[in-house]
Symmetry: C2
Subunit: 322 residues, 2 copies
């Protein structure tokens, strides 16, 4: 019997392009691959996965009660994202299934991207790039002025690892940081706002990097955007559903807010086409985590969680199940 | 006699679009405006400016011995840029003309822009924006991965106010900073390289923010780019002539270097068209200083220099004349 046949069995689901964990997983575990079968997923799971205890969900496949009903032996669900809004955590809790996420693997890259989007929106970097490439600069004319980044008041919604790394990066820009979170954090030196409306009223930029939950869905609605005001800018590196996207599009078109840098969208990869012609937005294809370094890190975190599970050690990045 | 007719006379030259100092200047001085006359500049100067002692050059009009020969009474040349490579400083020194520049007025904005370009190049922010706007994301396909910003080794050429502010901003990204400058600065904690070739060899990113002088013209040549290497990225917020642009275009096309974020060009507003189709470059129309805040600041600095001059006080931002 080969060594690999003795290693634990892990169920793996991924989209065709998310291949970055294949080598890591196959070196460490025997794999039951949903994507290698032509069967519809529920059929595949019912036929082959009844005894599976660990499941790696690479990407954002919705994990609900119906899907979990096909996995009666499941004890561990390993997610490769930071957010677990695609998972019915209450059902996992009820069934005694532990859930892990990407932990800290993406924090630096998401924070970097948030700052990049912020500067790009305020200082018109993508607009300027299009302007030069169009050949317009060579003709008489004037490029519009951007907006100063240094000294801006930045309100961060969600002061976890990503939020605090964004804040840390913006400090030497002379930005004045404040934040909203479920609860005030004693270790965080920035001003805390218990409500988002006041946070919006007192800031020039809102950065969204909180979890998507029932409480945070559409946390940025029309009223918050009106409170942020016509010079105000929104940066979203969390989830599209944190913003009432339909209202946001109107607010951007009507000048109710000044601009937006968006890595995520409500129905991605569908993006409202009204945004395509706007110069006050920077659009990003959910790429805040998309670096080789981050993918390597999340693969390591996933493997570490699986190894911990199979050796009865504490999980590396468990998700709080409420 | 009205108060304004008693205020000192100042010669002003500007391009049609650079109107941002008009109010400031006219509130404080009587103005002799080159741009209000249809006469060719030398003719205008010879006819009207023989007694002028102070000259504000808004923009980058070349100030050479020939032009200065029409201004026999000149004692102060106020420039609105940080770099004074458009001024024959040696001739000013010989003629006893003091020169001032924008001082610190642009430092934050240029530093902000440099960091924005750096993130935009490495994390493909402008590329991603084009990708989403083109509608390609909605179709099956995969957006390319960017490169991690956090932890990059960044070599800064020119460690003046702008360079040190860029360094300060990149520190919380975990970037490892080193620099090249005319001389090692005792107050700067980063590693000093006396030669650019070694700086390039030891870094992932080169940021150019030094003055353009005979010593720094083409400081980044083919050899330096080969030393930087195929993953290496150049950010230029200094002057186009700091880089051998023709060789840079070749290096970008051939993959000798990895990418570039360019706010300045050798023959701007002409930009080499070979760059327009490249995804590894971000092009910016010399806009690193283009915010209302920066223009307000430089106007204040210019006025302060003029007031100091007319009241025999020390100048606010004198340029070293060698």
């Amino acid at each position: 019997m080969s060594e690999s046949s003795e290693s634990p069995l892990v169920l793996v689901h991924r989209t065709p392009t998310l291949t970055y964990m294949d080598d890591h997983l196959s070196r460490n575990f025997r794999l039951l691959k949903t994507y290698a079968s032509p069967d519809p997923l529920p059929v595949f799971l019912s036929r082959h996965a009844a005894s599976v205890t660990a499941f790696v969900n690479i990407g954002r496949l919705k994990i609900d009660a119906e899907l979990l009903s096909h996995l009666p032996s499941l004890q561990l669900l390993v997610c490769t994202s930071v957010g677990t809004d695609h998972v019915d955590l209450a059902e996992c809790k009820r069934l005694g299934i532990a859930v892990t996420n990407a932990g800290d693997a993406f924090s630096d890259d998401v924070a970097d991207c948030a700052v990049g989007l912020l500067i790009s929106v305020l200082r018109l970097i993508s607009v300027g790039d299009r302007y030069v490439r169009s050949g317009k600069w060579a003709k008489p004319g004037e490029f519009q002025l951007g907006t100063k980044v240094s000294g801006k008041r930045v309100g961060i919604i969600g002061m976890g690892t990503i939020g605090s790394r964004i804040a840390k990066r913006l400090e030497p820009f002379g930005c004045i940081i404040s934040y909203n979170a479920r609860t005030q954090k004693q270790s965080i030196p920035y001003r805390y706002y218990s409500d988002v409306l006041s946070l919006a009223a007192d800031n020039d930029v809102l950065v969204l990097c909180c979890s998507l939950t029932d409480q945070t869905r559409h946390v940025v609605n029309r009223e918050v955007m009106e409170s942020l005001g016509k010079e105000g800018v929104i940066i979203n590196v969390g989830r599209g559903e944190l913003i009432d996207e339909k209202e946001m599009v109107k607010c951007l078109v009507e000048g109710v807010i000044g601009g937006a840098g968006l890595d995520v969208f409500e129905k991605e990869p569908q993006v409202p086409e009204e945004l395509f012609g706007l110069d006050n937005v920077v659009l990003s294809p959910h790429a805040a985590v998309a670096t080789p370094g981050a993918l390597e890190s999340v693969a390591q975190v996933a493997i570490a969680n699986l190894k911990a599970f199979f050796s009865n050690q504490p999980l590396v990045s468990p998700v709080r199940l409420g």
